[in-house]
């Protein structure tokens, strides 16, 4: 495995198969927004399905840090905790350790990770969006890192806890089981690749090539700083909430500076990993980059700390509608700033493409909740699955 192209093809195949396998296993009438990746224990990206899931690496680092060397082959851990890198209460990230260099215990070197949206995880309303939430707990259950599989066997205590805290217990249980199976498959496919002689060299060459591709795409951006400001909202209650300011500047790498209004009482705030994901998603979309950029885009972008504002929310600040409100403004501000520098793109169209058929796209702008029609589809799907033998 010394050929970077062959490595890229193999990794893409493994990750793609994982995503496809997960989505097919569930067969839902909406997108589960599944993402997958391979990471080192400290969160460095080896491969991902999309460059915009930098927060997956944050999650891996948090889970790996929590369990340290308390891992066995076949273990899998899950979290939805935004302080552990997750981006939404109904978005579950599952990781499974790998020991590609041999060995079956101690600190794992690599983790396979998969993230997907489940239809509900408590909070005020079916669908995972709670505009009334006053804090993080009011948005749904907080699944801090917990093992859902031990030595290959499902852990009843954890899976049942997840099931009990969801209005869609059948779908949630199926989702968690599919995540466990998918991570196992991904780990099985990835382990021989990672263990193959020449992997490190091939991976370095692959990443370098991708960095070059990104640099070429960014060359269209003129050198001066470019800025844009996009108002947040209007919110479901008709209120405004200030604006997100973005400045982009091409230096050795792309430098991004952001500013926003103070932390808001409504759940429109963003955590730092959420901001990181949105910045990379906006750049990836504006530059029309292919999705399999194994961490190269993240490595090529500097994101300055925004300082105390709604773009850097910590527990207990609510964030449940942050991506759909402030996140959308941030996304648009970045695309507009890039456009000011010569990379023309339609922010609205790109946002719609980013949201796709995900549940998040079904949030009713007038209520802040998942729309009635889509909530009905979720409920009907749950009822159907609950009836299934």
């Amino acid at each position: 495995m010394s050929d970077p192209r062959a490595l890229e093809t193999s990794l893409r195949a493994a990750l793609g198969a994982a995503i496809t396998g997960y989505e097919r296993a569930l067969g839902l009438p909406w997108s589960v927004h599944a993402k997958a990746g391979l990471f080192t224990a400290n969160g460095r990206t080896l491969a991902t399905t999309a460059a915009s899931v930098a927060s997956l690496g944050t999650t891996v680092r948090a889970i790996a840090g929590f369990f340290a060397d308390e891992w066995a082959p076949g273990d899998a851990a899950i979290t939805n905790d935004q302080d552990s890198g997750a981006t939404h209460v109904a978005e579950m990230t599952l990781v499974r350790p790998l020991w590609p260099a041999g060995g079956t215990s101690g600190k794992p070197a690599v983790f396979a990770a998969i993230r997907a949206h489940i239809p509900d995880f408590g909070g005020w309303h079916l669908g995972g969006y709670s505009p009334e939430a006053i804090d993080r707990w009011a948005e749904g259950g907080r699944i801090v890192p917990v093992k859902v599989a031990l030595a290959g066997a499902e852990r009843r205590e954890a899976v049942e806890t997840l099931m009990l805290n969801s209005r869609t217990p059948a779908l949630t249980t199926a989702s968690v089981r599919a995540l466990i199976a998918t991570a196992a498959n991904l780990a099985g496919m990835a382990a021989p690749l990672l263990a193959a002689p020449g992997f490190a060299a091939a991976h370095t060459a692959l990443t370098a090539g991708e960095s070059d591709a990104i640099a070429r795409a960014l060359a269209a951006l003129s050198l001066a700083p470019h800025r844009a400001s996009i108002p947040i909202g209007p919110l479901w209650n008709g209120a405004g909430a200030g604006a997100v300011d973005a400045i982009v500047e091409r230096r050795n790498r792309l430098h991004v500076a952001l500013a926003g209004p103070p932390v808001h009482a409504l759940p429109i705030n963003l955590t730092r990993p959420m901001v990181e994901d949105l910045v990379l998603a906006a750049i990836e979309a504006a530059l029309a980059l292919p999705p399999f950029l194994t961490g190269a885009l993240r490595a090529g972008v500097d994101i300055a700390e925004p300082g105390p504002c709604l773009l850097d929310a910590a527990v207990p600040t609510p964030v449940g509608l942050g991506r759909e409100t402030t996140g959308r403004a941030l996304f648009a501000a970045l695309v507009q700033a890039l456009a000011a520098g010569g990379i023309a793109a339609d922010a609205d169209a790109l946002w719609r493409a980013y949201q796709g058929r995900a549940i998040a796209a079904k949030v009713d702008a007038t209520t802040g909740r998942v729309g009635t029609r889509h909530a009905g589809i979720i409920a009907a799907t749950e009822a159907e699955r609950a009836r299934a033998p």
Partner: protein, 594 residues
């Protein structure tokens, strides 16, 4: 496999009594451990937890003893122990500690956390020690666990099925972290959870010492005797009751969802030495958070029963003569995902009251207020003195529930089934939360009249020292606690938020959610009380005069409610006028009855 026990030898009867008292003492010690090592005032001050020791015969679990505390906890904990045994059948190990909190999985409402601790003797679990405690926050939509506008159980908090917190002595750290991360006050509740485990650990050690001293075989025979003894005492009581069916009813004012009043009906049938308590006729389950799961309903019925015969040792034998029937899909036996957050007390108190009203017709000399028609306010916000988020509960606002009973006036505290709930120290609240109390005082002319009157209502006033939000949940304004045997009902409950602020003042007689009370704002509470016992015209006039001198009863109310005429110059009873007044009223009542 059940253990088959030979009968207890006569010589061992004393040992059996020693064992019984020992286990009750163990429960007391467990309780002290929890009280003295917990952090939150709801544990250390209010005492809102219960402890028990359960006996395991290899197949079935029985309640062996419990500390005098909150009975509704520990009788419901029985189902949590059963749920743990079912979930971990054949997989219970020495050194394991189990946890459960889900209402639909052997619990009652989410904030009641239960620890179940197996006690191994000779390699087998022979007992379980258990602590069930009401923690101050369990995540969910509303700080404090009382979401007055909840429409399903997911809006009430984080649900936990039976899980193993410690495996063979080793903490399962991810489950600990998971449970505690779903509270808003993790530091405090970590201490409370450790206190619960500490209580169980001490209890387990004592039970092992008991088995070591007498041998497990003899202890088992003693336990069987203790159960039989309680059963025989109850059956002897029942044998004196006239056969028949006796019905009692109680009502919640509202269901927190625009509906109400919510009816609870209990029919007690005495027949052939057994007693059947049928709750048919109670309302169908409702939209708001007063629905009760079956274990909570049964626990509240049991709590009423144990307050009727407090001299009989309380254990599973006590309840053998009683059979309980609960209508499905009802407010006393609800289905998931109905919200249940308030059910332990409301509708729990009304379950108790309905059962008590039925027993009023059987054993009138033993009945009295069994309930606390909970009125409470939880305030939350950031305590600027500590910089930390806080959720403050003030169970003082609930406490004046004691009604009169034969021979005794309602006392200034909780009714008998909640007797171990304490009136917390206001100074401790002021230390821990941004409050300043301005008034805590009996209110004149609020005590329910009766031969033995109820406790007066209390008036509370406190000032908020920080900006907070308030959640009020209250019942008993339209349907205050009932009187017995001719006693009158107690005063109702209500709140005034932002009292004296013309722009913000609001009177709350049912509930509110998240009302802002800015720094300097005041909260007023009238905490009503239990009803009187017996005809007020039979009250000793000297006791009425004493109440007048204590400013609990006005001169006008003494005449109006009791027919007692006070000579205001002497502060004493005008006996002749009083006798004439009472005779006139009795005659009027007799005529009206004709």
């Amino acid at each position: 496999m059940n253990v088959v026990l030979p009968p207890l030898a006569k010589a061992d009867l004393i040992t059996a009594e020693i064992v019984r008292n020992y286990v009750e003492t163990v429960c007391g010690e467990m309780s002290r451990v929890v009280e003295n090592t917990s952090i939150s005032p709801i544990f250390s001050e209010t005492h809102d937890y219960s402890v028990g020791v359960f006996y395991f015969d290899g197949k079935d679990v029985s309640l062996l003893a419990r500390a005098q505390s909150v009975p509704t906890h520990i009788f419901a904990a029985y189902t949590s122990v059963e749920a743990v045994l079912k979930a971990y059948a054949g997989d219970v190990n020495d050194g394991d500690i189990f946890f459960a909190s889900d209402p639909y999985y052997g619990g009652s409402h989410i904030p009641d956390w239960t620890i179940v601790y197996p006690v191994f003797v000779h390699g087998v679990p022979a007992f379980f020690t258990s602590v069930r405690g009401h923690v101050n926050d369990v995540g969910g939509c509303a700080p404090g666990g009382y979401n007055t506008i909840a429409r399903d159980v997911w809006q009430e908090g984080f649900r936990v099925p039976p899980v193993r917190l410690t495996e063979r002595g080793r903490p399962v750290k991810d489950l600990w972290n998971l449970i505690l991360s779903n509270t808003r006050t993790k530091d405090d509740i970590t201490g409370d959870l450790n206190a619960m485990i500490g209580g169980c650990t001490i209890g387990a050690r004592r039970m092992q010492e008991l088995a070591a001293k007498y041998g497990l075989a003899l202890v088992r025979r003693c336990v069987a005797y203790v159960f039989d003894y309680s059963e025989s005492r109850l059956r002897a009581e029942i044998a004196t009751w006239p056969a028949g069916t006796y019905v009692g009813e109680a009502f919640l004012d509202h269901d927190y969802a625009g509906g109400g009043p919510v009816k609870v009906r209990a029919a007690v049938t005495v027949e052939g030495g057994d007693v059947r308590i049928d709750m048919a006729g109670s309302a169908p389950q409702v939209a708001g958070f007063v629905n009760s799961v079956a274990p909570n309903t049964i626990s509240n019925i049991y709590s009423t029963l144990v307050s009727l015969w407090p001299d009989v040792p309380v254990n599973s034998g006590y309840f053998r003569p009683f059979k309980i029937a609960l209508p499905p899909h009802s407010v006393v036996n609800c289905d998931p995902p109905a919200p249940v957050g308030h059910s332990t007390v409301c509708i729990g108190s009304d379950i108790m009251e309905a059962v008590m009203k039925a027993f009023e017709q059987i054993v009138p000399e033993r009945v009295g207020a069994a309930d606390i028609d909970l009125c409470n306010v939880r305030v939350y916000g950031t305590n600027t003195r500590t910089g930390r988020f806080f959720v403050g509960s003030d169970i003082n606002a609930t406490a004046m529930s004691a009604g009169g009973a034969k021979g005794v006036d309602g006392w200034g505290g909780n009714a008998a089934p909640f007797c171990a709930l304490r009136l917390p120290s206001l100074e401790m609240f002021e230390q821990q939360y941004p409050y300043r109390y301005w008034q805590v005082e009996y209110a004149p002319d609020t005590a329910a009249p009766g031969e033995f009157r109820g406790a007066p209502a209390l008036h509370y006033r406190r000032e908020m020292l920080d900006d907070v939000a308030a959640i009020v949940y209250s019942q008993g304004y339209a349907h205050p606690m009932q009187g017995y045997v001719g006693g009158k009902p107690g005063a109702g409950n209500f709140f005034v938020l932002n009292e004296g602020d013309p722009q913000r003042e609001v009177k709350v007689t049912d509930y509110c959610y998240g009302v802002a009370v800015p720094k300097g704002g005041r909260i007023f509470v009238q905490s009503g009380a239990g009803g009187g016992w017996g005809d007020p015209l039979r009250r000793n006039p000297d006791r009425v005069a004493a109440d007048v001198r204590s400013e609990l009863v006005s001169v006008a109310a003494a005449r109006r409610d009791y027919g007692v005429v006070i000579d205001v110059r002497l502060g004493a009873v005008d006996r002749a006028t009083t006798e004439a007044e009472r005779a006139r009223r009795r005659a009027g009542a007799a005529k009206a009855a004709e």
